[in-house]
């Protein structure tokens, strides 16, 4: 029974036409040729402990010893070694927040409160200076916690501005509309790296003499301002998708502009755009890697720094694969979540 079913499946999916059969055979040959080599490299001949990359090369396999040697630097950067339990707790807090956002039993207000409290806890833990924790300068908040702080904080801070811009772009007031369009289009038309450069290098020029803001918070501001333009477009899409009748019904009830938006329009617009907002979050998460160019130690710059160690110069593939896997797990997790959400939202509407 099962054997015939399997055969049927094979025939339907792999050998349904002569062209597909040829393709299947070709790919099977390629896989059979490449896969053993890859497994040999990644597992069989890989070195988990080695003093340097030459020893790994002599063994003929991947040099995971590089990751083992530099693991804590890649994940936490230059955060004081003895204090690295703090960023570890921070990572756990982020994991808990993300998981509780995905699990949809916790909703709306409580989730928002959870995130705010969580982020406050994160900053307190990282900064120290109270509760007997030694203070740590924000320049040393490196690695994965930095990435998460920038992405989550940037998204959170961008939200009010994004809402204002989205509403502004659909406002009946011409100057407000024009200013919103101008902001959104200019921000989206110029590469993010240019804005990062602007805020990190040029912001001090625009502040009153004597006032300085730490690099981390300048980067955070750049993130918030940049994401806001993209998020505004997402929300605008939601606003446009709300049927006219909803606006008119709110008018008929005598609601003023802000009440109409807050009670009727925005709740619907934000709900239907949640999947698109998750996509913006994934994009923001990947974009955090650009701060490595400006010299903030995110996992990418940590890895590049580690790779400058002459002992491990040849382990670049292992290094980049490791971080790519970190980002991949997060991105895949989020996009899986977004797809599931999309499905359940569209079910609700049918």
């Amino acid at each position: 029974m099962t054997a015939t079913a399997a055969l049927q499946w094979l025939r339907a999916n792999l050998f349904n036409t002569w062209w597909n059969s040829a393709l299947t055979l070709l790919i099977a040959c390629l896989v059979l040729w490449l896969l053993p080599g890859f497994i040999e490299w990644a597992v069989v001949k890989a070195s988990l402990t080695a003093p340097d990359d030459r020893v790994c090369q002599a063994a003929g396999g991947a040099c995971w010893a590089f990751i083992a040697d530099w693991f804590r630097f890649i994940v936490f950067g230059r955060y004081p070694y003895a204090e690295q339990w703090r960023p570890t707790v921070v990572l756990l807090i982020f994991a808990a927040l993300l998981l509780s956002s995905v699990d949809r039993r916790l909703k709306g207000r409580w989730l928002a409160i959870g995130w705010v409290l969580g982020l406050v806890a994160v900053v307190v833990l990282m900064a120290g200076g109270i509760f007997g924790l030694p203070a740590v300068d924000s320049d040393l908040w490196n690695g994965l916690p930095l990435t998460l702080i920038l992405a989550a904080g940037g998204l959170g801070l961008s939200y009010p501005l994004a809402l204002l811009l989205a509403l502004g772009r659909r406002s009946p007031l011409p100057t407000v509309r024009m200013l919103s369009v101008l902001y959104i289009e200019v921000v989206r038309g110029v590469p993010f790296i240019a804005w990062l450069f602007l805020l990190l290098v040029l912001l001090p020029l625009f502040l009153p003499p004597g006032l300085t803001i730490a690099k981390l918070w300048r980067a955070e501001a750049a993130f918030a301002l940049f994401i806001a333009a993209y998020q505004a477009e997402v929300v605008r899409g939601g606003l446009q998708a709300i049927p006219r009748g909803q606006y008119e019904a709110a008018d008929a009830l005598g609601l003023g502009y802000w009440k109409k938006m807050r009670l009727i329009v925005l709740p619907q617009a934000l709900t239907i755009t949640i999947p698109a907002q998750v996509n913006t979050l994934i994009g923001a998460f990947k974009d955090t890697t650009l701060i490595s160019i400006i010299g903030l130690f995110d996992p990418v710059l940590d890895t590049n720094t580690a790779l400058n160690d002459p002992a491990w110069r040849l382990a670049y593939i292992e290094g980049y694969l490791f971080i790519a896997a970190l980002y991949f797990v997060f991105g895949y997790f989020m996009s899986f979540y977004s797809r599931r959400l999309e499905k359940s939202l569209s079910q609700g509407r049918r």
Binding site: N13, L14, N16, T17, N20, L23, T24, I27, A28, P172, L173, P174, T175, V176, L179, E185, V186, R188, G189, V190, P191, F192, I193, A194, F197, L198, V201, L202, P204, L205, F206, L207, P208, P209, D251, G254, G256, Y257, I282, K286, D287, T289, L290, S292, I293, V300, N304, L307, L314, Y316, I317, Y320, I323, A324, Y327, F328, F330, G331, Y332, S335
Partner: protein
């Protein structure tokens, strides 16, 4: 929008509304306030900047553009020496950006169509492997991919002496990629002219076929004649011109290559990463575009007796294109903007040249204004071109 009082009151027009409740006055007030706030904030920032610049002794203005750049840029599309001006350095950077972006757009589009169609393949292996490719590309940061390919070429690739070569006369070494190009010959110009003439003739043929279709309902066979009209004239000119094909073949010398066209590891890594990355995104766009055409359309076409090829060409693709074009535009835009990541590996495109200039002259504000407005112009130009194309393919409704 109308305040409750005005809507409920039965007396028309006579109701006097307090000025702070009058909608028109409010609208004007809000707008004036917004503009004033923004102008005030801008003036505050500008004031700070002026004060800071004065303290640091930095002169403002664009006069520095005429000064000698005194740094080298390589590779360049136009001749450039350190004695040239900053303005010319920016132009060199801009041309490099345009080169990477246009090559990237062309290759990413081709890859994207292959990926999109492979995703829909009825072959399970093909569609799964393509899905894996798309997921890996979409969920890993681009800059990581650029670094990886750059290191593969810089650190992993061998010396020119024992360069990898998978294809004849194409060498990959830690100096980059070298491949053969034909030596220039005046016949090539004539071939180009012949190509243009052929394309024009093919276009006329297409117009004629359309008219005939409209008049008689017959669909003249134009695919092969059209293709012949486009390809044959250049080939004939090539043969008539004495078939002047002399390739500039790269030779391995002691430490490097001579001859051929070489591209630096930075350029190769950037272009490769951009194409692989954007290709995955465009692939998803193409897939959803094709899927957006409902099954009934192709079933109806087949019921009308159209062949599979005709169904795809005349029914499915024209409808899919409409869904594909707008998101592809934004993908082209992000590819162009992503080319600025070259600054991380030191390929001298617009942003990385500007970065050097800003560091050298200290005129970061002016340089940033130039960079931002240049990218804006490029973005607008791409949007405009794609909008025109979109209008051309868009559904004409009543």
């Amino acid at each position: 929008m109308t305040p409750a009082g005005a809507a409920a009151s039965p007396a028309p027009a006579r109701t006097r509304v307090a000025p702070w409740r009058d909608e028109r006055i409010r609208a004007i007030a809000i707008q004036v306030l917004t503009v004033a706030l923004i102008l005030g904030f801008a003036a505050y920032l500008a004031g700070n900047a002026a004060e800071n610049l004065r303290r640091q002794g930095i002169a403002t203005g664009f006069a520095f553009l005429g000064r000698e750049a005194s740094f080298a840029v390589s590779p360049t599309l136009i001749p450039f020496s350190p004695a040239d001006t900053y303005a010319r350095a920016l132009l060199v950077g801009l041309l490099n950006t345009l080169l990477v972006a246009s090559l990237g757009i062309v290759f990413a589009t081709m890859l994207g169509f292959v990926v999109g169609i492979a995703r829909l393949s009825s072959n399970w292996l093909v569609s799964r492997l393509t899905l894996a490719y798309v997921e890996v590309m979409r969920n890993t940061p681009l800059i990581l991919q650029i670094f990886l390919w750059w290191d593969v070429l810089r650190v992993g690739a061998p010396q020119p002496r024992d360069a990898w070569h998978f294809l004849p006369h194409v060498f990959i070494s830690n100096r980059g990629v070298v491949f053969p190009v034909p030596f220039y010959d005046p016949v090539y110009l004539w071939m180009l002219a012949a190509l243009a003439a052929g394309a024009g003739a093919a276009y006329l043929l297409r117009l004629w076929a359309r008219q005939r279709l409209a008049r008689t309902g017959e669909r003249p066979q134009t695919a092969w004649p059209g293709l012949t009209l486009v390809t044959l004239p250049p080939i004939l000119v090539f043969i008539a011109g004495g078939a002047p094909l002399r390739l500039d073949l790269p030779q391995v010398t002691r430490f490097d290559f001579s001859g051929g066209q070489s591209i630096t590891p930075e350029f190769a890594a950037l272009l490769f990463a951009l194409v692989a990355y954007s290709g995955a995104f465009i692939g998803e766009i193409v897939r959803s575009g094709i899927q957006s055409v409902s099954r009934g359309q192709s079933e109806a076409a087949q019921a009308l007796g159209l062949s599979r090829g005709q169904t795809l060409r005349l029914v499915v693709l024209p409808q899919a294109i409409r869904v594909i074009v707008p998101p592809t535009t934004s993908e082209y835009l992000s590819l162009t903007k992503n080319s600025s990541l070259a600054v991380a590996i030191g390929f001298p495109e617009l942003f990385s040249v500007s970065n050097t200039i800003a560091n050298q002259t200290g005129q970061a504000i002016e340089v940033m204004v130039i960079v931002a407005s240049t990218y804006l112009v490029i973005s607008l130009a791409i949007s405009l071109a794609m909008n025109l194309y979109n209008r051309w393919t868009a559904l004409v409704e009543r």
